[in-house]
Amino acid sequence: MLKMGYGSYVLRRLLYTIPIIFGISVLIFVLTRVLPGDPVKLALGPDATPEMIAQARRIWNLDKPLYVQYVVFMVGFFTGDWGVSLRTYNNVLVDLARFAPATYELTAAAVMFSTLVGIPIGIVAAMHKDKWQDHGSRILSIGGVSMPLFWTGIMLQLLIASYFRLLPIGGRIGDGIARPVHITGFYLLDSLFTGNWEAFWSSAQHIILPAFVLSFPSLANISRLVRSAMIDQRSKDHVILQIANGMPRRLIVYKYMLKNSMASALTMIALMFAYSLGSVALVEMVFFWPGMGTYLVQGIYFKDFNAIMSVVILVGIIIVMANFIVDLLYGYLDPRIRYGEER
């Protein structure tokens, strides 16, 4: 136990993710196929004849026993056949290759924004504990987690896009502007790499509002986290010693306290990315953002169960991986965790 190194810790963590991913796939399979209610009937609409329904069931393997359906789906999932979308009639994987980068770009922008703004807010709040700065940041963070994202989005559209006409109302890029050459699928990066300034400018304008709205909950979380970490640091012996030594406050804050509180904030970023994926559907629907969230919601309208299952499993895997990365970072930064008991 004591000789256990980082490698075996990583391996153990990795093995731990397998049952979770398996569990997610079973859960989502059960939710979309086994519960009462008939997706085929719903997908084909009220005019479908019994023969049509029977035929559809045969084509989609829905007449087979459930465990066969599950195995067929999972084998397909790992071999690149994610089933046909009932809405777009593409392989879901092809659809997602188109829509997922939009979502990742939006989420990444939101997380970046919340990190860049949230960490300074947390520091300021901690430095001025119980002063107006602290109260202000508290109000901001309560608002951040309490505001219905879809409503905030609509209000900003009204105010900034429609009334002041500062930014476009929605979409990913201006109407007349050619899409940048596909390299990463992130319009901002692709247009930057190819020096396509027109596309860059347009997609930058388009991403600001949705990313800002999506960043609200993470912004609230990270600023609170940094605040409490900084306040923790303030009562540490080494900090008290520095204060007693008369070291300049600025130096103590930035050199000693900040460094130590950053560890928890940085590990938080992976989780923020994962959890922003959870609410991205709302923001995408408001801002006509052609991403996975829109794809999921429209899939639900159409009872497009292949699309729904694939998106949810994909999101699940991303989150499991994010947790995994956080564990690795924690284990790396704090060796005690490696030797500690499993949760």
Binding site: P19, I20, G23, I24, V26, L27, I28, L31, T32, R33, L35, P36, G37, P39, L42, I142, G143, V145, S146, M147, P148, L149, F150, W151, T152, I154, M155, Q157, L158, S162, Y163, A274, Y275, L277, G278, S279, A281, L282, M285, V286, L296, V297, I300, Y301, K303, F305, I308, M309, V311, V312, V315, G316, I319, V320, N323
Partner: protein
């Protein structure tokens, strides 16, 4: 009353000591009782705990603000029939002459596309939003308490199965899971309630299980066992009281979040369906009339925000007043 409040524990210990013939005049009861001016049995201690909790709650202006908001919204929903200016507007009346009127003294929040008063519909919306959130909370509490107590008390394989299942549910973001859960059903309020329950129960199971685990090792449980209390007696007599306070606080604290959640589903068209007035549904309907008729979606959103903040502040206040710890 709280998990860490000593009154219940002392009660059990005192009983035990009395049963085992240990004299318990001075050390356990009398000095504290005298100081606080309490005479009477353990019930008096419990009452005293309540009084102090209420005092603590009252001292915090934020908690009181939460209480005022919550009471206001609940009353608004309960009395919507009597206090709303146009109660029939929530019950199918249409009035095309007065459609899409901006806010005025007659219609403070304006009227919608078929001439219904937005304020009246918001008031009835409070009834639907709060009651459906309470139903969700009730369901997840029942599931959470039952599964959490079984997992925590039985332990072993049962515990692993229940908790690993909860882990799987927790991994998927609640909104995504709830969205997926609506797939197999026609979207309506019942579906939304069930979907949110599916996404929400593991948090309660986890909470209850962790309370049971931490309480199980306490000395007074061991003591109860020693004096021959059966497992049911221990579960309901000694463990359950600890869960009640924690779950009550969590129940209140999360109502706002569930309202937000249900509103999100309704906004996406997967929850409460028009013409039923629910806040999320109203925003969803209003979005087609933007930007000219902004009041249709602006005002319901303010009430969602108010409800979430109100219940969070109120719940936070309860948590502090009863000294309950929700996180390990």
């Amino acid at each position: 009353m709280g998990q860490h409040s000593p009154s219940l524990r002392r009660y059990t210990m005192a009983n035990l000591l009395r049963l085992s013939g240990v004299p318990i005049g001075g050390t356990v009861k009398r000095p504290i009782g005298n100081r606080l001016g309490i005479t009477g049995g353990p019930e008096a201690y419990r009452l005293e705990g309540w009084k102090r909790a209420i005092n603590r709650f009252k001292r915090n202006p934020l908690s009181m603000a939460g209480l005022v908001i919550v009471v206001g919204l609940v009353l608004m929903g309960l009395l919507a029939d009597y206090i709303s200016p146009f109660p029939m507007d929530a019950k199918g009346r249409v009035d095309f002459v007065n459609k899409l009127l901006p806010p005025s003294s007659m219609h403070i929040f304006g009227t919608d596309e078929v001439g219904r008063d937005v304020l009246s519909r918001i008031m009835f919306g409070a009834r639907i939003d709060i009651s459906s959130a309470v139903i969700v909370q009730f369901l997840v509490t029942v599931v959470g308490v039952v599964l959490g107590m079984i997992a925590g008390y039985v332990g072993g394989k049962t515990n692993s199965v229940i908790m690993r299942t909860a882990d799987v549910f927790i991994t998927i973001p609640p909104l995504v899971l709830a969205l997926a859960a609506t797939t197999a059903f026609t979207p309506d309020i019942t579906t939304a309630i069930l979907a949110v329950t599916i996404a929400w129960w593991p948090w309660y199971t986890r909470l209850v299980q962790s309370v049971v685990l931490s309480v199980k090792e306490e000395q007074y449980i061991e003591a109860s066992r020693a004096i021959g209390k059966g497992p049911l007696g221990i579960i309901f007599g000694d463990i359950f009281p600890n869960i009640v306070s924690v779950v009550t606080v969590k129940f209140t604290l999360d109502i706002g979040m569930v309202i937000l959640f249900m509103a999100s589903l309704s906004f996406l068209g997967l929850g409460v369906q028009p013409p039923t007035p629910a806040w999320g549904t109203m925003i969803s309907e209003g979005k087609y009339y933007l930007p000219e008729y902004w009041w249709m979606s602006a005002f319901p959103g303010i009430f969602i925000l108010l409800a979430v903040i109100g219940f969070s502040l109120f719940g936070d206040g309860l948590r502090d007043a009863f000294d309950v710890q929700l996180e390990e």
